[in-house]
């Protein structure tokens, strides 16, 4: 009887020990597998994940490692993306400078080699000068944009009569509209409204949008309006030009994005991205609606900062 009980206990103990040994062995195997995967992650493969059963004793450890890897990878990815886009920028810039520069030197060489004389020579000099000025404008735009992009631009808020200032900016464009046979409708309220805003930023935003209508819009009519609405300043610039296609529309505020890709078309691809950055800097919003062949509407909204009363 005693032997029997002892035998029973020993058998049960053996089973328990065997089960424990198996459990330990399995855990060890899982840990070893996990360790090889972690080695691979350490060697730079951030896409590797530890896959375990939820009930495994090492589950929470593996889940934590996964979480850390995913987080690190996301950070790493952001850096890589920034780097990539800068490289793209550099390539694209050298391209955008090379073509106008080739054209400019072409005119100068033609003059130097004596291909042209007299009146034609004068004409060539004028063309070359204009091209040089365009290039200067491009480089200026580029620097402005780089400054914005690196967050170095400082906004200087001034107190101005916004209605008066809007009128001033838009009226500077009237000769251009008339030269290009564009009918215009400008509506800005008559009263005074003093607000606090960065004058140069606002001017640059409106100038770039209006310039776009001239360069790309092929419009015959433009409507510019400004009003105070619900404690916000709202601007609208609407034209009846060629519009922007549906595929281009979501990308127009991206830097260096040009519609009609791969063409030697006008523009730096920076204008609207400067607009977007400046609008952001002024805590405003910009939206665009466009229908192909019907026209485009840019809608701007800025917070109305009423200057503090000074005595």
């Amino acid at each position: 009887m005693v032997f029997f009980v002892c035998g029973m206990i020993i058998t049960i103990l053996c089973f328990v020990i065997a089960a424990l040994a198996f459990y330990l062995y399995r855990t060890k195997v899982q840990l070893m597998e996990a360790s090889t995967i972690v080695d691979e992650i350490a060697n730079g493969n951030m896409n590797r994940r530890l896959i375990v059963s939820k009930t495994s004793p090492v589950a929470s450890l593996c889940y934590k490692i996964n979480e850390i890897v995913i987080q690190t990878k996301n950070e790493l990815f952001k850096h890589q993306q920034a780097e990539r886009s800068y490289r793209q920028l550099a390539t694209s810039l050298s391209h955008d400078i090379r073509t106008p520069l080739a054209s400019l030197t072409g005119y100068l060489e033609a003059i130097q080699l004596g291909y042209v004389t007299g009146k034609e020579k004068e004409q060539y000099i004028e063309i070359a000068l204009n091209k040089a000025l365009d290039l200067k404008y491009y480089v200026d735009t580029l620097f402005e944009w780089l400054k914005l992009e690196s967050g170095e631009r400082i906004y200087h808020y001034e107190n101005i009569d916004i209605h008066e200032y809007a009128r001033e900016i838009v009226s500077e464009w009237i000769p251009q509209f008339e030269k290009n046979d564009i009918c215009y409708d400008i509506s800005v309220p008559e009263n005074e409204l003093f607000v606090s805003i960065d004058k140069t930023a606002l001017k640059r935003i409106l100038d770039n949008l209006l310039q776009n209508v001239l360069t790309h819009g092929h419009a015959t009519f433009i409507k510019v309006s400004e009003e105070e609405n619900d404690n916000k300043m709202a601007f609208e610039i609407q034209d009846n030009g060629v519009g922007i296609s549906e595929t281009d529309l979501p990308h127009i505020f991206e830097r260096l994005y040009k519609c009609n890709t791969a063409r030697g078309t006008k523009g730096s691809g920076l204008g609207l991205s400067i607009v977007a950055e400046l609008v952001k800097g002024l805590h405003g919003e910009i939206t665009v609606k466009s229908i192909k062949e019907k026209g485009t509407l840019f809608f701007l909204l800025f917070p109305l900062l009423v200057p503090e009363k000074q005595d």
Partner: protein, 307 residues
Amino acid sequence: MNDCVIETQMLTKRYGSTTVVNNVSIHVKRGRIYGLLGRNGAGKTTTMKMILGLSAISSGEVRLFGESLKKNERKLYPRIGSIIETPGFYPHLTGTENLQIFARIRGTIKQNAVQEALKTVGLPYDDKKPFSSYSLGMKQRLGIANAILNDPELLILDEPTNGLDPIGIAEVRAFIRSLSEEYGKTILISSHILTEIALLADDIGILHHGNLLEENTMADLEKKNQKYIHIQVTSQSLAAQVLERVLHTNNYTAEADNSMRIYDTGIDLVELNKALVSVGAGVSTIQICSDNLEDYFKKITGGVGIE
């Protein structure tokens, strides 16, 4: 680290005397989207099935992550997510329950993996709708959720937009793009629609009657898709001046290596050459590059083309 995530060497599939896939060697590089393009029945699905071990290989070899697939299946397959044909789910269970079953079988990478995968593809978590009453679009989404459940390094997607409406197609396309661009996944995708592959893939392999006719980067193929006059000259500036003054065009770009592209293809080449030479712009190359992708595929598939 090996650059190829999938590499097949002379992969062949025969059914009796018919060869469905013939000596196909594809190279799917890390972090890129590889589009396998071919008409229905060209052997796309069979190739993918052989890579995934769902179909026996008649001859040839598959290498995944730089290792031979043979004997390493258990180690390599958990690193892959896939959808082949219509995904198989239990019809009377909900999407969540279906994914939970797969999660239990395969293990998971985080506590709430199922919930997150469903959220990523825009399906509700823990709703009561059984899989059988899902729309085709929802079924396809659940398939994608299942494929990305363990955040795999490699995704193999067989016609993932099949049966989706245009908006669904655009969404899935954007999603696949983001998997590649934001998460650095390597993706092998098949399609019989040229435009879809053209919009998505970085590299492309064209299958026709079981043969791989071409393997190339999309960027290279796109070069073939433009229309322009390519010239190489000794002086870009003089050439530029000629283009503007004599031929009256501004539609050109100056490239590296003294080459230029003129997008105004209406220009007469003889006249262009004469004008360039007369100012001493030294022409070494002058040619019209015009081809479109569709024509190109027609050409290499022997005239039949791809939808």
